[in-house]
Amino acid sequence: MNTVPMESGLVLAGILFILGFIGVLVRRNIVFILLSLEVMLNAAGLAFIFAGSRWVQADGQVMFIFILAMAAAEVSVGLALILQIFRDFKTLDADAANNMRG
């Protein structure tokens, strides 16, 4: 069975991670920031999957399931925070919530 080489898989995971990170940095809409975070999480999960298949271990997939669970928890908390921010600031602009500047 032909397997995808690990290097290209890791490069794909890296590109996804950087795309997600750029999304976090450049988007001002807080919903999109949360979306970008999800992309980053999945990029990390992808890296685990590739590593698991490379060494033929189940640990990679176990870790991915962990990440999924964590992402679900994170999204529920994150969405609650987004709702709260929207209620307080009447906007979804993340930069508006800078009351704690020094």
Binding site: V24, L25, R28, A94, N98, M100, R101, G102
Partner: protein
């Protein structure tokens, strides 16, 4: 009886405490009564103790009363202990008795002044401190009293503190005497480290055993002690504070700056006479300082307009005589002159105070004149005091005390013809300025009207002091006139005597005649110059050289100018330059760096989520880079 000695200084301190705590709430009469009574009782007790001491002298002619141990640190354990002997008895007698008369006088003089009870509180504190100074049986206690009287001098010179000039004079007196006090403190340290004790009796015993005559240690110690004495007694080169100290009320000038405190230097040197005998060089310097001071101050007194400044310079000059006496080893003569001087100078100051008050606080002698008919008692007592100051032969105390000094300067163990000549010239000048002062103040035409007529409260002290300054001199008569040596016999229980070299009675007679003629000549010249034809003096003063010399003498030989140029102005200049405090720049720089960091960090604390994410990413990248590549 002698064990009651501790009450003598305790009473003035008690009076001070009462007046300081509740004085401002009691009526003026009560405050004055407490102030006068405390000193009066003290004086009464001193008289009893003195009679007791003389009639049944204690063993060794020294009575020591140890009250308690003050402290005990590293081998230094001074006690609060009082030492009564011939010298301190003479001093406490003068301090309490003259102090009492001056307190009594102040009751009327200071009446209606703001801070009436404050005045008596300070005066009581002064008398208490002065008694501690002369009664202290160790030099630490003496130093405590020494600084205490310095403090009171400061407080009382600046008594009318609302005038900034008085505050300036007070600070000047305090700072200038502090220069001497620092030297004295170092002298005490040397005495303690070298001899291991500061107890006076022990020092006098141990010093000759440890130090050979003329070795460097006693010279150093004596010179440093002399520094303290010079500062306190307003001698060259630290004499500049005393004329300005006349800014205080007149009773203060009489008590502190004429009769008692300024003679503390004489007391110190007489007390430490063993150390000074071990350092003959310093003893000679003492004499030279005395001679120079008495001449410089005499010439300055000749040109003053302010009656109190004349008396101030005259005080400096008379203390110069005491230093001269100490310098020629005539210890008892110095103490004798101190006593007589305290009487007649207090009398003169109090008399001047009456005149000043009578003429509505006028101190300029050229605006006085002709007051002798208005205040006859003051006039006659002032005349007696002046005669004593001018050393009018035979009838005044001042003649006997000054004659004794001149005699020892000419014929004693450490006779020195130069010092004698200076003393004789000084006597002439003294007679000159004294007569000038009397003529200007009391004779001539009245220029103002009488403002305040003195009552018996002010006149009684004058009369008592006039009697004392006349008859006080008769306890010590020279060989030619009765040969009475009560005072010097009494002193020689403590102070070493002075062997007269040669010559005998005929030399003494010639010396006395010279001194007498000098005094009378001085009075006569002054009479001719200032009364018969004053236009000659005016002409002399108008001439180019005369006016310059007059201004120079009037300003006290330019010492103030010299010290301003040498010390005051450079310090003021440095302060001016260093207004921003350049040493502080180091610390302000540290503070500035911290503030910059604070600003930078608070800039990164922008509150924006995305900035923080960027920060985390950057940090992670840098950490990974370091981990991977290094």
């Amino acid at each position: 009886m002698l064990e009651l000695l501790w009450i003598v200084p305790a009473l003035p301190f008690l009076g001070f405490l009462i007046l300081a705590l509740i004085g401002s709430r009691m009526p003026g009469k009560t405050a004055a009564a407490i102030g006068v009574a405390s000193i009066g009782l003290s004086a009464l007790l001193t008289v009893f103790i003195g009679i007791n001491f003389i009639s049944s002298p204690p063993a060794g002619r020294v009575y020591i009363q140890t009250l308690w141990e003050w402290f005990n640190v590293a081998g230094l354990n001074p006690g609060i202990a009082l030492r009564l002997d011939a010298v301190s008895l003479t001093f406490i007698f003068v301090i309490t008795f003259v102090g009492f008369l001056i307190h009594l006088y102040s009751v009327e003089y200071m009446e209606g002044e703001e801070g009436y009870s404050r005045f008596f509180a300070y005066m009581n504190l002064f008398v208490g401190s002065m008694l501690m100074l002369v009664l202290g049986d160790n030099l630490v206690l003496l130093y405590l009293g020494w600084e205490g009287v310095g403090l009171c001098s400061y407080l009382l010179i600046g008594f009318w503190y609302k005038d900034p000039a008085n505050g300036y004079a007070a600070r000047k007196a305090f700072i200038v005497t502090r220069v001497g006090d620092t030297a004295m403190a170092i002298g005490l340290f040397i005495l303690f480290t070298e001899l291991g004790s500061l107890n006076i009796g022990r020092l006098l015993e141990v010093a000759p055993l440890n130090w050979p005559v003329g070795s460097s240690m006693p010279v150093l110690a004596a010179a440093l002690l002399l520094g303290g004495a010079v500062g306190k007694s307003a001698q060259l080169p630290l004499q500049t504070w005393l004329p300005d100290a006349m800014a205080g009320p007149t009773p203060v000038s009489a008590l502190i700056h004429a009769a008692t405190m300024v003679t503390a230097g004489v007391y110190l040197i007489a007390r430490m006479h063993v150390i000074f005998t071990l350092a003959p060089v310093v003893l000679t310097i003492v004499g030279v300082i005395g001679a120079l001071t008495l001449l410089l101050a005499g010439f300055s007194a000749l040109t003053q307009h302010d009656i109190k400044r004349v008396l101030a310079y005259s005080t400096i000059s008379q203390i110069g005589y005491m230093f001269l006496a100490l310098g020629v080893g005539a210890w008892s003569a110095a103490v004798f002159h101190f006593m007589i001087h305290a009487f007649f100078k207090a009398l003169l100051f109090l008399g001047a105070g009456v005149v000043i008050l009578a003429l509505h606080h006028e101190q300029n002698m050229f605006k006085m004149g002709g007051v002798r008919k208005m205040i006859p008692v003051t006039f006659w007592t002032f005349l007696i005091g002046s005669a004593s100051l001018a050393a009018l032969p035979l009838v005044t105390g001042g003649f006997y005390s000054k004659d004794l000094i001149l005699f020892y300067a000419f014929d004693g163990e450490r006779a020195n013809r130069w010092l004698y000549a200076a003393g004789l010239l000084g006597a002439l000048i003294t007679a000159l300025y004294t007569t000038r002062m009397v003529l200007l103040t009391f004779f001539g035409e009245a220029k103002t009207h009488l403002h305040h007529k003195p009552t018996w409260i002010m006149e009684m002290p004058l009369v008592v002091l006039a009697v004392l300054s006349t008859f006080g001199g008769f306890v010590e008569l020279p060989h030619t006139l009765g040969h009475l040596t009560l005072f010097s016999d009494f002193m020689q229980t403590i102070l070493p005597g002075n062997q007269v070299a040669e010559g005998g009675i005929s030399t003494e007679l010639i010396l006395q005649l010279t001194a007498a003629v000098t005094a009378i000549l001085g009075i006569f010249i002054a009479y001719m110059l200032y009364y018969k034809n004053p236009e000659r003096v005016t002409a002399l003063r108008r001439s180019a050289f005369g006016s310059r010399l007059h201004a120079f003498w009037k300003k006290g030989w330019g010492f103030d100018w010299l010290y301003d140029t040498l010390f005051v102005n450079p310090i003021v200049w440095i302060a001016e330059v260093n207004k921003s405090d350049f040493i502080d720049l180091i610390y302000t720089f540290i503070a500035w760096v911290n503030r910059m960091f604070n600003r930078a960090f608070s800039f990164t604390q922008s509150g924006r989520l995305r900035w923080y994410a960027m920060g985390i990413a950057l940090g992670a990248i840098i950490t990974l880079t370091i981990a991977v590549f290094l």
